[in-house]
Symmetry: C2
Subunit: 146 residues, 2 copies
């Protein structure tokens, strides 16, 4: 039996509910770290180019865990390290994340600096891109989650 997770939401509007969970400057970047950059550790997320502050990262990881989008385990090689990973709820954000990226590609192309080939695959075959991302996640899971 799984305890029902409590979210505080402003209203029952799905847009408002989603924003109450991931609607801030940092939460979706943490998700990006795990989903697209394959990061699983605190120290690695601290070092991403957006320079998230230690307190915010800690705070967001906790909220994401409380909200059920991520989970964590001890690193098998060290007790002082933790591994964070996406739950099915977190992984399911891939569709929304991809639409964000595609919107950016269509509308603010000039601001982006991701590699051309990645962008092309994303654009021409978003489903394949999703599948590739999910395969990478699964491979990590096979290795670290028994």
């Amino acid at each position: 039996m799984v305890a029902k997770i409590e979210h505080k939401t402003r209203t029952g509007c799905p847009v408002a509910c989603v924003l109450d969970i991931v609607g801030d400057h940092w939460t979706l970047l943490v998700i990006r770290n795990m989903m697209f950059l394959g990061l699983h550790e605190y120290k690695d997320m601290l070092e991403t180019e957006e320079k998230i502050s230690s307190s915010i990262l800690s705070n967001r990881l906790k909220k994401l865990e409380t909200d059920g989008l991520i989970a964590s385990i001890d690193h098998p090689e060290s007790k002082r390290r933790k591994l964070y990973y996406l739950t099915s709820m977190g992984k399911d954000l891939i569709h929304m994340m991809l639409e964000m990226v595609l919107w950016a590609n269509r509308n603010i192309d000039h601001l982006l600096t991701i590699p051309e080939d990645k962008l092309l695959l994303l654009k021409n075959d978003p489903d394949k891109f999703k599948a590739l991302v999910l395969v990478q996640i699964e491979e990590w899971e096979k290795e670290y989650l028994s």
Copy 2:
């Protein structure tokens, strides 16, 4: 010739860029007002159930206009009223918005209070749902934008 709009973004990561434009508690609710609720006036947006404050609404409408996601005209019937509407860039957010709603439907269903029939259409035929939303927007445009 159209002036290039300047956005300040943390980095060239598409996720970070999109978050710099719409990544806060209120911006996407304003978009929702215009996209799904068919609202076009300040006063109507003030009265939505999330109870946005006047200063935040004003602030977000300005930022959205600066960022090129919405535009505004005087109300044809009254000079003291303004009509806000989505630009093509704003309308193009529909794909992302829909994925947000679908994620909510799949993962936090118990928190939502939108009508069952709307949810069913959304779920079973998201493309039709999108088309309907866009048709409504186009009808408004035909009436108010020459």
